[in-house]
Amino acid sequence: MKQRIELLVNGEYHELYVAPNTLLINVIREELQLTGTKYGCGTGQCGGCTLLVDGEPVLGCLTLAVAVDGAAITTIEGVAAVDGTLDKVQEAFLDNNAVQCGYCTPGMVLMAKDLLRRNPHPSEADIRHHIKGNICRCTGYNGIVRAVKAAAERQIEGDANANG
Amino acid sequence: MQTVEYLKPADMNELAALMQQYAARATFIAGGTNLIPDMRSGRHRPEVLLDIGDLKAMNAIALNDDHLSIGAAATIARIAADATVNAHCPILAAAAAKLGNPLTRNRATIGGNLANASPCADTAPPLLSLEALVEIMDVKGQQRQVPLDKFFRGYKWTDLAPGEVITRIVVPKPSSGMQGGHTKLGLRKAAAICVASVAVMLEKENDHIAKARVAFGSVAPKPIRAYRLEAFFEGKAADATLLSQCEPILQQEIAPISDIRGSEAYRRQVTAVIFKRNLQELLWS
């Protein structure tokens, strides 16, 4: 018996009918065709399915879609500007060799953005702690950590320029 | 790797002198694509390395009146691309092009491929079907020519005595009516050790098979000529029934084993398939 839910995804309104046991990640990937969010393990261990739900990081594979009825969801596709300009975090990832196969990257970027929102001056330990739930098999994490640090610096610079 | 001496003769005279001096203690190196991994693994522990790879005389590819002469140190890449080889024995060029990969082909040599005498040696079946001979120099500087089918004595066992070297490969020019085919089966398109291969040279006269030379690789302890199969075909009318009739004879000629690249049963089946494909191609296309 399908249930009606409403989601605001990357600023776009969607009315959906889903079975109660439908996972959020499947709605995002299959109903809405937003495949940037990855299905890595299905058990909440790899972080590939990281989404922001009402601004808070959430694992799409462990969330029922009906449980987030009415929420505003940000996926990786919603991070760059509408005109395609990359977010500072995305730029920093590209500039710091933080992307190899790219599979962990959407989750990493969302967690990085979440961190910088809470803590604009994260230490390396802060960064490593915040991405503990996101596994990368390729890079060894150093490039990712460097990228987040660089993004933090650019953000501060950007804010200073905007305000100064 | 242990202490080894290295010498690089500048010409054939110097080579002969060194061979006389070092005799059975000498190990020859040209491309090194087999020898270096063997040295690293300890399978070969040479005392003295004689580098023959750059010797002009052993690199020459020349067409004579009745034969093609290929220096033993000629690289596989060069042989695959050589205009003379492609014109007169295209199946050798074709087989060379399938050996290893482009990087190893730039170093590996035809002499090394034959001297190593793997049953999977890629250049062997075409050379066998072309009735090639190897020219060998002994430690006293004497030359002898050995037909390739006699050169291969058994599993990785050749006519080379310690200290002897192949100087060139002599390929009798096939008569103008001879056409050839070659197939190599491997588990990959490149860098593949042969699973089964066949080389066929056929001459047709009217609708009869006047001459047949067939060689197989990777289906016996050494690369082999299939004499009984050849005798079966010679003189026969080029009839489609030959394909089924020859099968039992073919199966008697080969003695494949099961290994990591394929089972005996697979090799038996697939050798017959590639042989028949080549036969059909040569007789009826």
């Binding site: 196969c101 | 202490t3 694509t33 270096i36 580098d51 290893g100 990087l103």
Partner: protein, 161 residues
């Protein structure tokens, strides 16, 4: 242990050292000449990570004795282009996402360069053949081939040697 003096022209520069008879060109490049852009993948000619050009021909450095390279010209990927002045191939690899871990890259570019030195335009099949001795565990080859194609399929005048 008996050693021999050798001279190798490495990326245009004469380099000297002493080697044993069994040291390979790969050993010497990485351990004596600090040319660590040449990678050690398998040491037996299977992976192509150690691809260099020897007198213009692409070879596995692990299958050449250092002594055999004496008196010859060796080109590594650093001799093909630099960070400040990259070759079209290097730019294409970066721009097209043909690099993940980067380990096969030097060998790939060297093998591709050897192809382009032979023929300035190449078909997709020729490109795949030319890199058939270079293994990549990351990319699935698609972007590598596309990167090389983007350079190899232009008219000869538009890319530099």
């Amino acid at each position: 242990m008996k050693t021999y003096p050798i001279t190798i022209e490495l990326n245009g520069e004469a380099r000297n050292t002493d080697v044993s008879a069994t040291e390979t060109l790969l050993d010497v490049l990485r351990n004596k000449f600090d040319a660590v852009e040449v990678k050690n993948g398998c040491e037996q000619g299977d992976c192509g990570a150690c691809t260099v050009m020897l007198d213009g021909k692409a070879v596995n450095a692990c299958l050449v004795l250092a002594l055999q390279a004496s008196g010859k010209a060796v080109t590594t990927v650093k001799g093909i282009g630099s960070q400040t002045s990259p070759h079209a191939l290097q730019r294409a690899f970066v721009e097209q996402g043909a690099i993940q871990c980067g380990y096969c890259t030097a060998g790939m570019i060297t093998a591709a360069k050897a192809l382009l030195d032979e023929k300035s335009t190449a078909t997709t099949a020729e490109i795949r053949q030319a890199i058939s001795g270079n293994l990549c565990r990351c990319t699935g080859y698609k972007k590598i081939v596309a990167a090389i194609e983007s350079v190899a399929k232009k008219e000869p005048a538009t890319h530099k040697r």
